[in-house]
């Protein structure tokens, strides 16, 4: 059986890879993928902690499912926004749209 710490290590790695990607990439799609990585890290954490702290209970798993659902919706919205940005700016770099700050 895989020790539970491994899941935490995996989760932490995914999280920081995601953050690193979000901070360093300029491409909007790449940034969206990075955010998905961060969310996945969180999902793994939910499942692992549920198993570790409350074996036999299901709240953590439900939260994981819920989070996956939300992230699916969120990527749909994000991709729609990115497509619109691309249409308007002919560019998918985040620097190109910094004047959106208002």
């Amino acid at each position: 059986m895989v020790p539970v710490e491994c899941y935490f290590v995996l989760s932490a790695l995914l999280f920081f890879i995601g953050v690193y990607g979000f901070v360093t990439r300029r491409n909007l799609i790449a940034m969206l993928i990075s955010i998905e990585l961060v969310l996945n890290a969180v999902d793994i954490n939910f499942a692992a902690f549920n198993r570790l702290l409350f074996p036999g209970e299901l709240e953590g798993f439900f939260m994981t499912l819920f989070s996956i659902g939300v992230s699916a919706a969120e990527s749909a919205v994000a991709i729609a926004i990115i497509i619109n940005v691309y249409r308007n700016f002919k560019n998918d770099s985040v620097d190109a749209i910094s004047n959106m700050k208002g």
Partner: protein, 663 residues
Amino acid sequence: MIYELSYLILLLPLLSFIVLGLAGMKMQHKTAGLIGTCSLSLVTILSYWTAITYFTADRTAEGVFQTIVPFNFTWLPLGNLHFDMGILLDPISVMMLVVISTVSLMVHIYSFGYMHGEKGFQRYYAFLSLFTMSMLGLVLATNIFQMYMFWELVGVSSYLLIGFYYPLKPAIAASKKAFIVTRFADMFFLIGILTFGYFTDSFSFSFAGDIVMGQGTTPFIEGNMAKAIAAGGFILPTALTLMFIGGAGKSAMFPLHIWLPDAMEGPTPVSALIHAATMVVAGVFQIARMFPLWIEYAPQAMSIVVWVGVITAFYAAAVACAQSDIKRVLAFSTISQIAFMMVALGVSLPGHHGAILDNHAQLGYMAGMFHLFTHAMFKACLFLGAGCIIHAVHSNEMALMGGLRKYMPITHVTFLISCLAIAGIPFFSGFSSKDEIITACMEYSPVVGWIMTGIAAMTAFYMFRLYYGIFWGTENKEAHEHHTPHEAPLTMTIPLIVLCIITVGVGVYSTLAGFLGWGGSFGSFVSAAGTDYTIHFNTQIAATSTVIAILSICLATYIYKGETQPIADRLYKTFPKLHRAAYKRFYQDEIWQFVTHKIIFRCVSTPIAWFDRHIVDGTFNFLAWGANEGGESLRAWQSGDVRKYAVWFLTGTVALTLVLLAL
């Protein structure tokens, strides 16, 4: 209810003001004038009807006219106090209704001719309506606060009408001067009202009908009179004196008179209506309205009224002798005559006769009101006559006149009759009222009585100086050849004739009634006690003042009637300084200028302005500057670079986590 239409007296002029004010500029001159005049004719008819109904109604058991309040509603409740709006009919307010509507109607008709073709004709009629509404509201007020509101409204309309020729600099300066001086005085009026309201819990004129008082009883005040008396005997005299300062400002009493001569910059019919017949007597009316309180609680303070009046009357008469602008002469004579009314009210002695106020001891009240009535008529006639002359000569200066009697017969005759009335010649209305004032003064103190007799003589002198200067004397042929003077059109002469008929009619009847002891003269309608008072002239005083008036007129005739005026020139050469001082109104304007600019502005206003600019403004400027600077330094953080935000967010989260872990 027979007075149920009385609210129309206020509503009609207001309506015509709104219509003319909003839509006037789209109308023909004639339409606008007709709207104003027609609504005022209705008001006049209603006023006369109200007056006839009121004065023919039965008197109460005590023999006085009932005080009637056809309308009264609470406008603003304020704890114990409440501001009401309504209509109050008592002898003086009904008398004022007649005076205001008559003079106002005459002025409306007259203005058709005088203002013919002027730019802003419609605006002029709109303002006239506004003024008439305000003045009627002032006299019909049921409480002192309503009176104050309309008091300010007449001030505004006066301001608007003085500044009617707004492209001209002097007109604007004069209108501002009038507004500021009267506002300054009104500040004291307001303080007086608030003092009165605070200590008595009432603004109401509930004492108006209670002029009949049992000996030792007090006038009824709706609120809490005991509170005011418990607070000290000085409260009511102080409040009344403060109100009198407001009245003195409006009625141009020395030293607050400075605005009235300048107010002559307005159109002449306006001077006749506002600055001679109605608005300027608001101060007199105010004292008459508060009279029961003055007589009961502040009889000593009335001597202030007397002496302010005496000084003003003398000062204005002296200045009037040296003016060369005909409207200025009339303005100073107005000041002097209003001062006569003030003195008349002031010399009313506190006294009771059995259960009621003594009509005889308080003759001054009746005399003051009577003089208000007669003065309004003959002074309006004089001003309108002056308007005809100015219309004909295109100047206010006496030097350009002289010998006008040939060209303007109607104006000449009406002007002469009004001059005789103001001079106090028997069978003209001024005689009866002025004679009663002098009688009242003599009873108060012979000193005041003789001073007033002297001033009456001066009045006769300067009025006939004016009369001869305009209609006789040297004709300015050069000016007249260039532009031949002509009689004014009918719209202008008819009001003169009507006012003259009133002057002569009232004069003849009241003179006969006074000598023969008939009733039905002015005293039957308005008197201190409210009862039917039959005027009996004191033959000695009547004879003295008549002889003195005739002597003054003869003197004026001797000096000013001829083609050349050697005596006047010699007098002028002998006392050049005195003449110059009188011409310059004894430097009153310069003194005010000095006091306000050099003393008040420099010693009070400048430090206050400095404090305001640097301390008060500085505090707020500093706060604004701080917020601005803070924002400027923070705005660099909003770069629009999402990844930078993410780094900051991450750093922040990590830092927060570390802090929480450390705790």
